[in-house]
C-alpha cells in the first residue's frame, strides 16, 4: 500500500538518475606531458564504452567505473603504453562490449563489409535498370493495365514524340539553357 508508491518512486529515481547522469558533464583534470598524450587520451576515452552507463563513451559518462577507467587510461599513457596495449587491457577485462569500434572477426565480417556488399548489389541493380531502360523505346508501349492518366507528356503519338525529340535535341545542341523541361523541375 504505502510501499508501492515508494518503490515506484525509487525505481523512477534510479531511471531518471541513469538518464540525468548524461545531463551532467564531467570534468577530469589530468596533467599530460605532451599535447600528443592528451590527444591520445581523448581518442581512447571516446572509443571505449562505459560498462555501466546507458550507452555513452568514457569521456561522457559520470559513472564511477568510467572515472576509474579514465584514470587508468591516463596512468597507462603516462607509463608509456601504446594504444594497442591499452585496448587489449580493456578487452581482457570487459570484453568486446567495451569497444565502440567492433573488432574485425569472423562474426563481424557481415557488419564491416555489409554496407560495401549492399553498395555493390545496388550498383548491379542500377546498371541493370539503366541497361533495360536504354534498350526500351521511349514511351513504353506495354504501359497499360492500370495506367489511365497520362504520364507527363506521353500523350503524343509516336511520330509527334519523335519530332519533339528532334526539336529538343536541336535546341539542346544550340542553346541548352532554354530547355524548359529541366528548368521546370522540382527534384525535391
Amino acid at each position: 500500500m504505502r510501499l508501492f508508491p515508494v518503490l515506484m518512486k525509487s525505481l523512477l529515481l534510479v531511471c531518471t538518475m541513469a538518464f540525468a547522469m548524461m545531463a551532467v558533464a564531467q570534468v577530469d583534470v589530468f596533467d599530460f606531458e605532451t599535447a600528443e598524450q592528451e590527444e591520445r587520451f581523448r581518442q581512447l576515452a571516446n572509443e571505449f564504452r562505459c560498462p555501466m552507463c546507458q550507452n555513452a563513451n568514457l569521456t561522457h559518462s559520470t559513472g564511477g567505473v568510467a572515472a576509474d577507467l579514465r584514470r587508468e587510461i591516463y596512468n597507462q599513457i603516462i607509463d608509456g603504453r601504446t594504444d594497442e596495449e591499452i585496448e587489449q587491457f580493456m578487452l581482457d577485462r570487459y570484453g568486446d562490449f567495451i569497444l565502440y569500434r567492433p573488432r574485425l572477426t569472423v562474426q563481424t565480417i557481415l557488419l564491416w563489409f555489409g554496407p560495401a556488399l549492399f553498395f555493390i548489389i545496388g550498383i548491379w541493380v542500377v546498371f541493370g535498370i539503366i541497361k533495360r531502360s536504354a534498350a526500351n523505346s521511349r514511351g513504353n508501349e506495354e504501359d497499360q493495365g492500370a495506367e489511365t492518366a497520362a504520364a507527363g507528356s506521353e500523350d503524343l503519338t509516336a511520330d509527334e514524340q519523335a519530332r519533339l525529340d528532334r526539336l529538343l535535341a536541336d535546341k539542346l545542341a544550340n542553346n541548352p539553357s532554354t530547355d524548359d523541361d529541366s528548368s521546370d523541375d522540382s527534384r525535391r
Partner: protein, 666 residues
C-alpha cells in the same frame, strides 16, 4: 472524474478509428458512395476525440492532478507552467498519446486538402490511416494508458520532470520530430491506396509530393532540434551520438529523402513507380521501427523510455501486421504498376537512381549497425558487442562524400537523355574552380595542407559552383539577371536551397569535428586559462535559485586577444524534487564558431574544475538544416500542387486500352 473522460474519449477515438478503417475501404471496393463519404466525417471525429484526450491530459498536468499516475511520475507542483504542459510528452504514455494525436492531425489535413482527389482514393487513404490509428489507440488502451490512476493513495506531489527535459528545446523538439515522423504515414497510405487500386499515375505523384515533402521537411527540423538540444544540454559539444534511438529517425529521413527524389522522377517522367511505393512503405516502416526500438527496451540507449517487453511484443506485432502486410501487398501488386522507361546513361533519372542507391545503402548500413549487437547476441548465445560512432562514421562519411560529388552533377543533367559531352562542357570549369579554391582556401588560412579539410572544401565548392553555374546557364538568355531569376520556378529555388543547406550541414559537421578544441582546467577564483585566442578568467561562484532547482553559477570573464569580449555564466544545478544534478553551459554562439564553458565540480578551497570549448562552424550544422527544410517546402509550393478546384473525373475500373487521356490538369 475528468481523467476518466479523457480515457473515455480515447476509447471513442479507438471506436471511430475502427469504423474509419473498415467502411470507406469496403465502400471503395464496392463503389458505395455513402460508405466512402463517411471517410472525412469519421476522420474529423477521430481527431476531435484525440484532441479532447490530449487536452484533458494537459489539464491534469496544469491542475497538478497527481492522482493520475502519469502526471505523478512526470510533474511537480513547483514545475514551471510551460514544462507542466510539455511534460505531457515527457514520458512514454503521454508522448504516445501525443504521437497518436499527430496522426489524427495529419489525417484531418488529408481530409481537408484532398478536394482534387477522387473520392475512392481519399476513402482508401483515410481508411488506411484509420487502421494505423486503431493500432495506436489500442496499444494505449491495452498497455500504456496515460489516464491510469494512482489511487487509492495518490502522492502528495509528483516526481518532477526529468531535469534534462526542463528546457526550451523540449518544448519544440518532440512536437516537430513526431510531426515529421508521423507525417510519413500519409505517403504510406497513398502508396497502399495505389497498390490496392492498381493505379499509379502522374496525378498520384502530384498529389503525393506535397505531403512527402512536408513530412520530410518537418522531420528535418525535428532531427535538427534534437541535435541542437543534445549539444547544449549535455555540455560536451557533441551533436550526434549515433545512439540507437537517434538512428531510426535518421533512417526515416534518409529513406524519405530517397523517396522525395524518386517521387520527383515519378511525377515528371513516370518512372520508378513501384520503387517509389516501396520506399514509401520502407520510410513508414522505419518510423514504426523507431517507435518500437525506443519504447520496447530492445536496445540500450540514454533516450529510451522505461522498457517493458509486453509493450515491445505488442508494437512488434503491430509492426509485423502493418509492414509485413504492406510488403506482401507490394510483392503481389507491384507488377501492375508499369513504369515508363527510356532514359539514357547520363540522364537525370540515372543520377536520381544513384542518389537513391546511396541513401538506401546508408539507411541499410545504419540499420545494420544499430541492430547488429542484438543479432550478435542472439547468434553467439550471449556475447555482447558494441557498435558506436567509430563504426558509423567510417561507413557513413564516405557515402556522404560520394553523394555530395554526385550532387554537383545531378541537377545539371537533363531528363531522359544527356550527353556526357554536355555535362563535361557545363562542369569542367566548375571542377577546376572547385579544386583550385577548395585547396587554396584551407592552405592559405591554416598555412598547412590539411587533407581532410581540403576534401571538405573542394566538395563544398564543387556543389556550390555547380549550383551557380546551373543558375547562370538558365538565365543566360534572359534580358537581365533579375528577370531571369524571377522566371525560375519556385520549385527550382526550393531544390537549390535544399541542396545548398545539405552541403552547409555536411561541411559544418566535418569542419567542426576537425577543428574543435577543448581544455579541462582546475581554476581558483581569480585564475585564468587560455584556449586559442581566448582567455577565460574564473571570477567566482555564486549560488542562484531557480523555480525548482538550486545552482552554483560561475562568472567567467572572456577576453579575446587580451581585450574584453563578454561574460559567461555556466551553472551546476540540482533539481530539488528529484535530487538530480544537471549542467547548464555558458555559451557564446556565433555563425563562425561557438565558445562555451562547462562547469565540473568544486574542489578544495573554492577551486572549480571546468572545461573550455571552441567549436568552429558548428552552427552551420543546424543553419544548413533550416535551408534544407525551407527548400523542401518551397519545392512543393509550386502552383501545380495547389489547384484545388479542379474537375474530378471518376474512374469505375482500371482502363486497359492503349489510349490515355489527360485526366486532371495540374
Amino acid at each position: 472524474m475528468i481523467p476518466e473522460l479523457g480515457n473515455f474519449s480515447l476509447i471513442l477515438a479507438f471506436a471511430l478509428s475502427i469504423l474509419l478503417g473498415i467502411f470507406p475501404m469496403v465502400g471503395a471496393a464496392r463503389q458505395n458512395q455513402l460508405w466512402m463519404g463517411l471517410a472525412r466525417p469519421l476522420t474529423a471525429g477521430v481527431f476531435v476525440f484525440l484532441s479532447i484526450s490530449l487536452a484533458i491530459l494537459a489539464y491534469s498536468f496544469v491542475t497538478d492532478d497527481f492522482s493520475v499516475q502519469f502526471v505523478a511520475n512526470h510533474s511537480n507542483s513547483m514545475l514551471p507552467l510551460r514544462y507542466k504542459l510539455t511534460a505531457v510528452w515527457g514520458g512514454h504514455e503521454g508522448s504516445f498519446l501525443f504521437w497518436t494525436w499527430m496522426l489524427g492531425g495529419w489525417m484531418l489535413a488529408v481530409a481537408i486538402f484532398s478536394k482534387s482527389m477522387p473520392t475512392e482514393f481519399v476513402a482508401r487513404v483515410l481508411s488506411i490511416m484509420g487502421l494505423i490509428s486503431v493500432g495506436y489507440t489500442l496499444f494505449m488502451l491495452a498497455t500504456s494508458n496515460p489516464f491510469d490512476r494512482a489511487l487509492p493513495l495518490s502522492p502528495a506531489d509528483g516526481a518532477d520532470l526529468n531535469a534534462a527535459l526542463q528546457d526550451f528545446a523540449f518544448i519544440i523538439h518532440p512536437p516537430s520530430l513526431y510531426m515529421g515522423y508521423v507525417g510519413f504515414s500519409v505517403v504510406f497510405a497513398f502508396a497502399i491506396a495505389a497498390l490496392i487500386s492498381g493505379r499509379l499515375d502522374s496525378a498520384w505523384a502530384r498529389w503525393c509530393r506535397p505531403w512527402a515533402n512536408a513530412a520530410w521537411a518537418i522531420l528535418t527540423l525535428g532531427l535538427s532540434l534534437g541535435s541542437w538540444w543534445a549539444y547544449y544540454e549535455l555540455g560536451w559539444g557533441g551533436w550526434w551520438a549515433w545512439d540507437p534511438v537517434e538512428n531510426p529517425p535518421l533512417i526515416t529521413w534518409l529513406l524519405g529523402a530517397a523517396m522525395i527524389h524518386s517521387l520527383a522522377a515519378t511525377e515528371k517522367r513516370g518512372v520508378f513507380k513501384s520503387w517509389t511505393v516501396l520506399l514509401a512503405i520502407m520510410a513508414f516502416a522505419s518510423s514504426l521501427l523507431g517507435t518500437f526500438i525506443t519504447r520496447s527496451g530492445l536496445l540500450t540507449s540514454v533516450h529510451a523510455f522505461a522498457s517493458d517487453p509486453t509493450r515491445g511484443v505488442y508494437i512488434l506485432g503491430f509492426l509485423g501486421l502493418i509492414i509485413g502486410g504492406s510488403l506482401l501487398l507490394y510483392a503481389i501488386r507491384a507488377p501492375i504498376l508499369k513504369s515508363e522507361f527510356g532514359f539514357g546513361g547520363w540522364s537525370r533519372e540515372v543520377f536520381l537512381l544513384a542518389n537513391n542507391l546511396i541513401l538506401v545503402v546508408a539507411s541499410a548500413a545504419i540499420l545494420l549497425g544499430t541492430l547488429y549487437p542484438m543479432v550478435y547476441q542472439a547468434v553467439t548465445g550471449g556475447d555482447l558487442i558494441s557498435v558506436g560512432p567509430p563504426y558509423f562514421n567510417t561507413i557513413f562519411l564516405p557515402l556522404v562524400g560520394i553523394l555530395v560529388l554526385l550532387l554537383g552533377v545531378g541537377p545539371v543533367a537533363r531528363w531522359k537523355k544527356t550527353s556526357r559531352a554536355y555535362l563535361i562542357k557545363q562542369l569542367s570549369k566548375v571542377a577546376i574552380a572547385a579544386l583550385v579554391i577548395g585547396v587554396a582556401l584551407p592552405v592559405l588560412l591554416t598555412l598547412g595542407v590539411p587533407l581532410t579539410t581540403i576534401i571538405v572544401t573542394v566538395l563544398a565548392c564543387w556543389v556550390i559552383f555547380s549550383l551557380l553555374r546551373d543558375l547562370q546557364s538558365k538565365i543566360a538568355n534572359k534580358p537581365d539577371v533579375w528577370s531571369g531569376l524571377k522566371s525560375l520556378p519556385v520549385s527550382y529555388w526550393g531544390m537549390q536551397l535544399a541542396h545548398f543547406g545539405f552541403v552547409m550541414t555536411m561541411a559544418g559537421g566535418c569542419l567542426t569535428s576537425i577543428y574543435s578544441v577543448e581544455k579541462s582546467v582546475l581554476l581558483d577564483p581569480g585564475e585564468s586559462a587560455e584556449l586559442g585566442r581566448y582567455t577565460f578568467v574564473f571570477e567566482g561562484i555564486e549560488p542562484v535559485q531557480g523555480p525548482n532547482f538550486i545552482a552554483d553559477e560561475a562568472s567567467i570573464e572572456v577576453l579575446r586577444d587580451g581585450v574584453y569580449f563578454r561574460h559567461l555564466y555556466p551553472q551546476k544545478q540540482l533539481y530539488t524534487a528529484s535530487n538530480t544534478p544537471a549542467t547548464h553551459m555558458g555559451i557564446d554562439g556565433r555563425f563562425f564558431r561557438d565558445l562555451f564553458v562547462t562547469l565540473g565540480d568544486a574542489r578544495n578551497q573554492g577551486a572549480w574544475s571546468m572545461t573550455l570549448y571552441i567549436k568552429p562552424f558548428v552552427r552551420w550544422v543546424w543553419i544548413g538544416t533550416i535551408f534544407i527544410a525551407a527548400g523542401g517546402i518551397l519545392a512543393v509550393t509550386d502552383k501545380r500542387y495547389r489547384r484545388f478546384k479542379v474537375r474530378q473525373v471518376q474512374r469505375a475500373a482500371p482502363v486497359t486500352n492503349k489510349d490515355s487521356q489527360p485526366v486532371v490538369e495540374g
